[in-house]
């Protein structure tokens, strides 16, 4: 079922947490709400669920206005950041909760509930843990139980708040792919909140980026990564370093250097250049757009090596990913070129 937030604004007292946000999730899609803390992403998720009321705007579930529909009747499966499992109930009772609280007429029989619990525990790969209590589970197991509990009520939409937030790095990576698998198998329209861009870019069909309550960009991971629409997205995604530049007449001035804009349209005035480690390559002397740079340090970053470069007086250092065979050390002066120019006015 498709879901849509239309011009959602949320104020808490004086503070505006969300300002005029539009997000559309197509049926069966997996969409990430990505942003730094305080960007309003969790609030938007809670508004979708009906746990918060928007100050203005509408929520549409399956094309129908659900803004006034109470949380119980929205048919959403919500997974909380710390899972919020019922601590006094067993795993099986947790999963069965949503079925047991149904009015008698629509409540499945006890046998049917038991069968559903078993089926869900198989789906989340936790068979045999029915009688455990949440306190007896590991973080990863709790997360799976929470997902099974949310799925038990056959929700039309799955809303996940930082689904991997409380887990350690190794478990996170395994569960990412697992969540993607579950999504493919069950086909639920899913919206999840995360502050981890790797997570969002890896598993989401589309990513919506929020900052300070505003939707900065929504698009596929490739669009977001390759074509950031705003200065915020360019700075937020891909470990970019922001360099202050000055644009004038088709050229940007970076400290002592001048770089040709090559068709990128930019109003004259102060601007920001965003440089990712992979945007820099070693260049031969005298090549167009080549810049001399001082190597401040060379460090290992996982499989790659990176050089920290100083491009000029008063500029922050930038990182460059080095080719495996590059013989470069601290103190060298190298010529580098930018493979692409990500410049935003302001």
């Amino acid at each position: 079922m498709e879901i849509r937030a239309e011009a959602i604004t949320k104020r808490f007292g004086e503070a505006t947490v969300l300002a005029d946000v539009d997000v559309h999730v197509h049926a069966g899609e997996l969409v990430a709400l990505l942003g730094p803390s305080g960007s309003g992403k969790t609030t938007l998720l809670r508004i979708f669920a009906g746990l918060e009321q928007p100050s203005a705007g509408r929520i549409l579930l399956g094309g129908e206005d659900a803004t006034q529909v109470p949380v119980q009747a929205r048919g959403v499966g919500f997974m909380f950041q710390h899972y919020a499992l019922f601590r006094h109930l067993t795993v099986a009772e947790n999963i069965a909760y949503g079925l047991k609280v149904r009015p008698r007429a629509s409540r499945p029989s006890n046998a049917a509930i038991r069968a559903r619990v078993t089926e869900l525990l198989d789906l989340v790969q936790l068979p045999g843990l029915e009688r455990r209590y949440p306190a007896q589970l590991s973080g990863g197991q709790r997360q799976r139980v929470a997902l099974a509990r949310a799925l038990a009520v056959d929700p039309k939409v799955l809303l996940l708040d930082e689904p991997f937030g409380a887990l350690d790095a190794q478990v996170r990576r395994d569960l990412r792919r697992w969540l993607r698998d579950i999504h493919e198998r069950t086909g639920h329209t899913t919206l999840f909140v995360t502050h981890d861009q790797d997570e969002a870019l890896e598993i989401a069909d589309r990513v919506a980026i929020l900052d300070q309550g505003r939707l900065e960009q929504i698009g596929t991971p490739d669009e977001i990564y390759e074509h950031p629409a705003t200065a915020f997205v360019a700075g937020f995604i891909g470990e970019a370093t922001r360099l202050p530049v000055e644009a004038r007449g088709g050229v940007v001035r970076l400290g002592p250097h001048a770089l040709a804009l090559n068709g990128t349209r930019l109003a004259d005035g102060p601007a920001s250049l965003f440089v990712r480690p992979r945007d820099l390559v070693l260049a031969d002397d005298g090549k167009a757009n080549a810049l001399p740079a001082n190597v401040v340090a060379v460090r290992r970053a996982g499989p790659a090596r990176r050089a920290e470069l100083h491009l000029g007086e008063g500029l922050p250092t930038v990182e460059m990913e080095l080719p495996a065979d590059a013989v470069i050390g601290k103190g060298d002066v190298v010529q580098v070129a930018l493979t692409r120019l990500r410049v935003f006015g302001g």
């Binding site: 669920a49 009906g50 746990l51 949380v71 119980q72 009747a73 929205r74 959403v76 499966g77 919500f78 909380f80 710390h82 919020a84 499992l85 019922f86 601590r87 006094h88 909760y97 949503g98 609280v101 149904r102 509990r149 949310a150 038990a152 009520v153």
Partner: protein, 300 residues
């Protein structure tokens, strides 16, 4: 209302690290024995001896005299009244305590800390003052005195006054047990229940209440002990009318003043017995459900 500090139950079962020969916190043997001896002597002198004295005095003229003192109709009325007062005051405070704890723990509102402070008022104010407040409000010359007399409603020197005073002094027990626990638990489980389709009431019954049940029982236990044992506030509003407005603690005083020592101590032994039962039940709760209770024991 002294409370014993609980042992840290969370460390139970964790093997102690091998102790170095002289830890910095170790005292010299002499110091240790003097300290332990002082504590034990104090305990004997001020707690155990008086307790023994109560039962010894009550049984001085034999078992028959002890039970005969309960045949006194005034004493029976006092016991009945005490049970009645507790039966009204304790459930009301359960309702109030849950409501107050819910409001404090799950909502933000202006004046919240002031509200929490006011919950503690009955702990910090003298019981006599607690009683006097109601006399000033509902007594013959009190604020509502004229109105009450005109409508022939008796509160002071009658059972309603005793119930009011008892509610007042037992006000904080349940709320204070629940507030820290509910605050710590937050609202996520309640929200989860709502998203799964539970109604507000259903959520309360299946999530909120089970999560606080032991703390609630603990609070009820303490509130009940206080409700039955309260002397000061009740004494002020009671009027000491025999067979009508005398609770057990007041009956003890009256009998004692009339040199009916066996009767006085017999009734006192019931109260002491209640205290012992409360103590045992409390210890059991702490032992069995210490994890759920321990957090609430920051207050005295």
């Amino acid at each position: 209302m002294s409370r014993t500090m609980m042992p840290e139950t969370s460390t139970r079962g964790v093997p102690a690290p091998p102790a170095p020969s002289a830890a910095v916190t170790d005292e010299a043997p002499l110091t240790r024995w003097v300290l332990i001896g002082a504590a034990v002597a104090f305990l004997l002198l001020f707690l155990v001896l008086p307790l023994i004295a109560i039962f010894a005095e009550a049984l001085r003229r034999g078992i028959a005299a002890y039970f005969a003192s309960f045949a006194d109709p005034d004493t029976q009325d006092a016991i009945r009244l005490t049970l009645l007062v507790a039966a009204i005051a304790v459930p009301l405070n359960v309702v109030f305590g849950i409501a107050a704890a819910w409001a404090v723990a799950k909502f933000d509102f202006a004046g919240k800390s002031l509200f929490v402070t006011f919950i503690d008022l009955p702990f910090s104010v003298s019981p006599v003052v607690s009683g006097l407040v109601f006399v000033l409000l509902f007594g013959a010359h009190g604020v509502f005195g004229g109105f009450l007399q005109a409508h022939d409603i008796r509160i002071i020197f009658a059972v309603p006054g005793i119930v009011l005073a008892t509610i007042f002094v037992t006000f904080p027990f349940v709320a204070r047990e629940l507030i820290p626990l509910m605050q710590e638990q937050g609202t996520a489980e309640e929200e989860a229940a709502l998203t799964l389709g539970a109604s507000g009431f259903r959520m309360f019954l299946t999530v909120t209440l089970p999560n606080v049940k032991w703390a609630l029982l603990y609070g009820v236990l303490l509130a009940n002990a206080r409700a039955m044992g309260e002397f000061g506030a009740v004494s002020v509003v009671s009027g000491h009318i025999r067979g009508l407005t005398n609770t057990m603690p007041l009956q003890v005083e009256i009998l004692y003043n009339e040199y009916a020592f066996v009767g006085a101590f017999a009734v006192a032994s019931l109260l002491a017995g209640l205290a012992l039962v409360t103590l045992v039940a409390k210890a059991l709760l702490e032992w069995r459900y210490g994890d759920a209770l321990a957090r609430t024991h920051r207050h005295g």
